[in-house]
């Protein structure tokens, strides 16, 4: 079965979750939230949520505790950069060694 069935004659897509596939597979590091530092968790009420606001892929939910959709998180690290409580750390994916030399 070829691609002709899609009936597109030019590049075409509709907005949908996962339209470009599981883009989480692209990342080499992932965000880890320290719940003791995260402001909404500490205050136990909706507040801050700057990570949600800045996430370019909209994979962060405004929940307490904050949830990040790891199927689509590309590991850009913007959430870690903007968190005012420094609650987010980027951790390398297993097998990714940035300083490895032969």
């Amino acid at each position: 079965m070829g691609t002709r069935d899609c009936q597109h004659i030019c590049g075409e897509s509709s907005p949908a979750v996962g339209e470009a596939g599981k883009t989480g597979e692209w990342r080499d590091s992932f965000p880890v939230i320290d719940q003791e530092k995260c402001l909404p968790v500490r205050q136990n009420k909706p507040s801050c949520f700057l990570c949600w606001l800045y996430c370019p892929d909209a994979v962060i939910n405004k929940t307490i505790p904050i949830q990040i959709n790891m199927e689509y998180c590309k590991g850009c690290g913007i959430c870690a950069q903007v968190c005012p409580a420094h609650a987010i750390t980027m951790v390398n994916e297993e097998g990714f060694c940035p300083n490895e030399t032969d």
Partner: protein, 404 residues
């Protein structure tokens, strides 16, 4: 039968403008360049004077002109632009884009030499240089064909979603007045229905067109296997390969309604029974007929193949037309530097695998507006005939008719 057309004295640029006006173009975006400027100046006067219901957008460059045309075409407008030489070169990236996006933009290419050095006069290097972009390319021999080809261009483009370039020689045609039958608007309306776009921007059904497309096909969120880059580009080539049928059909329909048939990929002049064929494109094809007359008087059986559709290149038709030839003399107003004239290469490509064993000779003529006289074409054919005697099928490089 269509209401009788009236005959006007028009230069090529005004013929092109009339063609666009009669085609009821909706968006015109253009930047001036010699010798094209009168086309779009005339169209802007039509718009300003309320004679053409269109948006005229004066952009700051030819690149922008085609960018505006492609954008307008994406949202369903029938668009037009015109340019030459450096302007066409400036549009190069967008030419690729329009073809890949499958947008039926029509462009009038007024053939002008390209620098360095600066030259505003005629040759066909500019449009020949764009032959790889995926546009249909049609060459006009005279001002009637310019007007007619633009109208047909919209019908072809909008039927198969491939952009079309109508090329005509700068100054030789663009600034030379000839009698032209200008069809009535009612007749053109009957021939050319409104544009039905294949893409439409609709907030109720949002889509992303011509997005980043990876090498491999991908499964979208609905589970449908979508084209990768290569598949989309295959479809463009397929559309061009199949376009011959539509080009001929539109040419035939045009003939039925307006009395001038374009049901061909090239104009044949006394090809039947000719063993010497002259190949030329654009206004040069008319000069070639004069040369053929002179050669016939001298007893040679000469025919002229006036190439009309350069892309898609009519390989099968050319092979058939040249079957009985023993000498093919190809005049090119262009050259692919390091090799030979483009038409020559393409004719050789068409003949590969056939039983045709004709001698092929290529002459580069008319660059930078150098006048080409029928006498010179005759001399070139006679010179080529001498090499037929020597049994020399092919020369490594073309000869040039110039002052070197």
């Amino acid at each position: 039968m269509a209401r009788k057309a009236s005959t006007w004295i028009l230069d090529g640029n005004h013929a092109a403008a009339q063609g666009a006006k009669l085609s009821r173009v909706q968006v015109i975006a253009a930047y001036p360049i010699t010798p094209q400027s009168p086309v779009t100046e005339t169209l802007s006067e039509f718009v300003e004077g309320g004679k053409l219901d269109a948006q005229y957008i004066a952009v700051e460059s030819e690149h922008s002109a085609l960018a505006v045309c492609t954008s307008a075409s994406m949202v369903g407008a029938r668009t037009f632009t015109a340019t030459s030489s450096h302007g066409l070169a400036y549009m190069h990236e967008m030419l690729h884009w329009a073809a890949g996006a499958r947008l039926p933009v029509v462009l009038a290419g007024v053939n002008r030499a390209i620098g360095a050095p600066w030259n505003v006069l005629n040759d066909q290097q500019d449009s020949i240089s764009q032959r790889d972009t995926g546009w249909i390319q049609i060459y006009a021999r005279n001002n009637q064909e310019i007007l007619d080809s633009i109208i047909q261009a919209y019908k072809i483009a909008e039927s198969i979603y491939v952009p079309v370039m109508v090329c005509y020689d700068g100054y030789v045609l663009s600034h030379t007045e000839m009698p032209v039958d200008v069809p009535s608007q009612e007749a053109v309306d009957r021939f050319l229905p409104p544009y039905k776009p294949h893409t439409i921007l609709d907030p109720a059904n949002p889509k992303n067109y011509n997005l980043v497309t990876l090498a491999n096909p991908r499964i979208n969120a609905e589970g449908v296997l979508c084209h990768g880059y290569m598949e989309l580009r295959y479809l463009l080539q397929e559309a061009l390969q199949d376009s011959r049928e539509m080009i001929i059909k539109v040419g035939q329909e045009f003939g039925e309604l307006f009395g001038r048939s374009y049901a061909n990929m090239f104009w044949e002049n006394r090809l039947d029974g000719a063993d010497i064929v002259i190949v030329a494109m654009g206004s040069l094809a008319m000069e070639a007929i004069v040369a053929a007359d002179m050669l016939r008087e001298a007893g040679h059986k000469v025919g002229v193949l006036g190439l009309r559709v350069f892309r898609p290149f009519p390989k099968a038709d050319v092979m058939k037309a040249l079957k009985k030839s023993r000498l093919v003399v190809i005049f090119d107003k262009n050259i692919s530097y390091g090799l030979e004239g483009a038409t020559c290469s393409e004719i050789k490509s068409a003949l590969y695998g056939s039983s045709v064993r004709a001698v092929i000779r290529n002459f580069i003529v008319g660059l930078g507006g150098r006048d080409v006289k029928a006498r010179e074409l005759v001399d070139a054919v006679n010179k080529s005939l001498l090499s037929v005697k020597e049994g020399d099928l092919n020369k490594e490089y073309p000869e040039w008719i110039c002052g070197i």
